[in-house]
């Protein structure tokens, strides 16, 4: 074992959260900061990485699932099986983490999300809420987060159209969003034929279309740190790929250029963190296997855990930090409030060619008329809605081939099917939705009793299933999808059955949350609203693991906002008076 000299701050994970914390600390203080990243740097591979097979089908930028995965079971009573191949979510690896291969859709969460427990009780009354609901307040309000949302939007160069500027509603933006202090840093993306037709149709139906907020730059942009990136070229190789020109905001092109100039910053790749070493309520070091396989210990004054959601709670479990949650008694906090996101899509067919291979990950139009708290009155049993959008994200030639209207061919192979697939090729798309995923008492994470990772450490076990609420959300959204398709003169093809049972083989989104949640009390949360561990003040556990439930919309912007606020807490408060902030 190799024992290194102590540093001031050591960070597990080199994605958006870890590198944002590193940038804030290394820029604003003279503290030494070391980031440990499990993977390697991808950057030089982006230029030759426009290959659908390796990147989208062989998951080249994802953690190697052969080395570590999770197990899943549907309920406390059913048995778990390992997730053996990628399906419902794709954790990234390498410098930048999942922030390299993301779609760059950059929503804010609505104000009531942060005090959702009280909000739902006021609106529906306790009696109408489902049994076992575990929704909690975040311990931070939208108003407190607003300046940090604005910082995150400037950092990445988000393009969009404000629908609520200081309380004034503006047509053309999302009029249902919370008040913004500023218009977006950049205008929206160019729109495709599909998204333009979607906009016309939903407007005709009386809805309120808005361009999807995008961190794939609509123009050349220089952020407040002086980092300049070029405008998006709409090449279509975006989600599951790194951007070959740096137009998509990624930690590697947005944070690293600043960090690389800092003498007090060091990035170590190929370093697999296995334990937080601690004694007497104080974190002392991170222990890891380095790039040549040597067990190494890096002591530090401050330890920040900033890996992908599920790895955060797992690292706490393996390090024996905090009291494991017990769903039978409701006691303990570690592992509670596991959520994902409620994804629904409806296949549509048109007689026009869509050129679906062009696009940007975050290019699209959406409506908020059935999102969050909107439009749900007519749908008994629905407590929270979801966005509805048409996207021009760029579809590869393999994945886009083969969808045909039901009944067009007897099977999915052979001459008859081939002819139909060719006839409908590039004339089909999905209307897609993502809805709030509420947290429930029986949905949580613990260590699996059977399966282990490549080192022999137990895997984490997810206990998660869809409930009647998510099925009601899905039914509502599918009904509106069909209404919009009709207004667009498109035929719909086949109902989605994704929400019958939670399925690890169908892609939902990589928006998995919880396990080390933030909140107002150490009895019901792992970290305080600054994402400082309640019982271990020099340990910070940051990222979507802190979300007590999930909103609709993509989480990265909110992850950045709570992280930037956490950085202020650490730098402006903790460093001045080390100890528990609350």
């Amino acid at each position: 074992m190799r024992q290194l000299k102590p540093v001031n701050v050591v960070i597990a994970g080199g994605g958006w959260v870890g590198l944002t914390m590193a940038k804030e600390i290394a820029s604003r203080t003279s503290l030494s900061v070391v980031v440990l990243e499990r993977g390697h740097s991808w950057k030089e591979q982006y230029a030759t990485g426009m290959d659908e097979l390796d990147f989208a089908f062989r998951y080249r930028m994802m953690q190697n699932i052969a080395e570590e995965t999770s197990t899943h079971r549907h309920s406390l009573k059913s048995s778990a099986a390992p997730i053996r191949q990628y399906g419902s979510f794709n954790p990234g690896t390498g410098v930048g983490g999942a922030g390299e291969h993301w779609a760059a859709i950059s929503y804010r969460y609505p104000p009531e999300q942060f005090t959702l427990a009280a909000f739902l009780q006021n609106r529906f009354g306790k009696a109408r809420l489902p049994e076992g609901l575990a929704v909690q307040d975040w311990g931070v309000t939208y108003d407190q987060l607003e300046p940090y949302y604005w910082s995150a939007e400037q950092l990445m160069g988000v393009g969009g159209k404000a629908g609520n500027l200081n309380g004034k509603k503006i047509d053309g933006g999302n009029v249902f969003e919370g008040p913004r202090s500023h218009e977006y840093p950049l205008p929206p993306h160019k729109q495709t034929y599909l998204t333009t037709e979607f906009e016309k149709a939903v407007r005709g139906l009386g809805y309120h279309p808005y361009p999807i907020p995008a961190a794939t730059l609509s123009r050349t942009y220089t952020n407040p740190d002086g980092v300049t990136r070029p405008a998006c070229a709409y090449c279509g190789y975006c989600t599951r790929f790194g951007c070959m020109i740096g137009a998509k905001a990624q930690p590697s092109n947005t944070l690293l250029p600043v960090l690389q100039k800092k003498k007090n910053f060091e990035l170590r790749t190929g370093c697999w963190v296995r334990r937080v070493i601690h004694r007497d309520g104080k974190a002392e070091a991170l222990s890891y296997i380095d790039a040549v396989g040597q067990e190494t210990v890096q002591p530090a004054d401050i330890v920040i855990v900033a890996s992908w959601t599920l790895n955060n709670s797992r690292l706490l479990y393996l390090s024996k930090i905090g009291e494991p949650y017990d769903p039978a008694t409701g006691k303990g906090t570690l592992g509670r409030n596991l959520t994902h996101q409620v994804g629904v899509q409806t296949r549509m067919f048109t007689d026009k060619t869509l050129n679906g291979f062009m696009g940007a990950g975050a290019l699209g139009m959406g409506i908020g008329d059935y999102d969050w708290n909107q439009g749900i009155e007519a749908f008994p049993g629905v407590l929270r809605g979801g966005n509805i959008r048409a996207m021009g994200s760029g579809e590869g030639p393999i994945s886009s081939f083969g969808a045909i209207p039901q009944g067009t061919a007897k099977s999915d192979w052979g001459s008859q099917w081939k002819k139909a697939a060719l006839a409908w090729h590039d004339k089909t798309t999905n209307i897609v939705s993502e809805a709030d995923h509420l947290s429930y008492r029986d949905h949580y994470l613990d260590l699996d009793p059977t399966y282990a990772d490549k080192f022999g450490d137990p895997l984490q076990r997810m206990t998660l299933d869809w409930t009647d609420h998510e099925r009601a959300q899905g039914a509502m959204l599918a009904q509106i999808h069909n209404q919009i398709a009709k207004a667009m003169d498109m035929r719909t093809g086949g109902a989605t059955r994704w929400l019958d049972k939670y399925t690890v083989t169908n892609y939902q989104s990589t928006h998995v949350n919880g396990g080390a949640i933030m909140g107002t009390s150490p009895d019901t949360s792992v970290v305080n609203p600054w994402m400082q561990h309640w019982q271990m003040p020099n340990l910070w556990v940051m990222g979507a693991s802190a979300f007590p439930q999930n909103s609709s919309g993509n989480p990265t912007l909110t992850i950045l906002a709570v992280t930037l606020r956490g950085a202020d807490g650490l730098i402006d408060k903790y460093l001045k008076r080390p100890g528990a902030l609350l």
Partner: protein, 220 residues
């Protein structure tokens, strides 16, 4: 070391372009009398013959255009199986292997190589049957893990970049009007509305102007 086996494919439609996809192979591709001899990495020549015939039934040459044989799909599959994917380098394969609910996906122990070997064996004298009989035999195994893989790999071999061994001469991309991984559609995206935008397709190597390698060809 096992003696390298070859398969013979008709050069018509793929001759020159197949030579291109095989660039970098340590074997000399021999073109003679309208056929090319391709070195195999995983399949035996007899196995390659069965897979070629089965892929052709999944994606046949017909009046709508070329099929799997012309695209060199079998070469694509041969390389995938010979590489890390074929031996499950990117799948969680720790025991115990248990039967589980369908929502947990494939839980078996067998890797793609083993699934193919067993599946091909089951197809027997497939390559010598008439197309109708071949279809019947495939229909009987339509829901098997082997067939679902074979179907998926056929599409991958049709429509992936030719660096992986299939889509010979970009024949698959021509068929669907895909122009290749061009670096920019900035001038087209909001202007070409409702009409197909097509170009003679180009491969990633042509776009970047330098040789590119698939993951299966990298040292691991």
């Amino acid at each position: 070391m096992k003696r390298r086996e070859f398969m013979t494919l008709p050069a018509s439609g793929l001759g020159g372009v197949l030579l291109y996809t095989l660039a970098g192979e340590p074997f000399r591709v021999q073109a003679q009398e309208g056929t090319v001899r391709v070195p195999l990495r995983f399949f035996t020549a007899a196995e390659a013959r069965v897979v070629t015939a089965a892929c052709e039934r999944i994606f046949p040459k017909d009046e709508s255009g070329p099929g799997a044989t012309e695209a060199g799909v079998v070469i694509y599959i041969d390389r995938q199986l010979a590489g890390p994917y074929g031996r499950d380098k990117y799948r969680y394969t720790q025991a115990p292997f248990v039967e589980s609910v369908p929502e947990h996906g494939f839980q078996g122990k067998e890797n793609p190589r083993e699934i193919y070997r067993a599946g091909i064996k089951q197809l027997g004298d497939f390559a010598d049957l008439k197309p109708d009989e071949q279809d019947q035999r495939l229909r009987a195994i339509e829901t098997s893990r082997f067939f679902r893989m074979l179907r998926q790999h056929t599409l991958e071999g049709m429509f992936s970049d030719p660096m992986h061994g299939g889509n010979a001469g970009l024949i698959g991309w021509q068929l669907i009007g895909y122009p290749g991984p061009l670096m920019s559609f900035r001038d087209q995206i909001d202007k070409v509305h409702g009409q197909p935008w097509t170009r003679k397709p180009v491969s990633l190597a042509q776009v970047t102007g330098r040789p590119v390698k698939g993951w299966e060809d990298e040292k691991d």
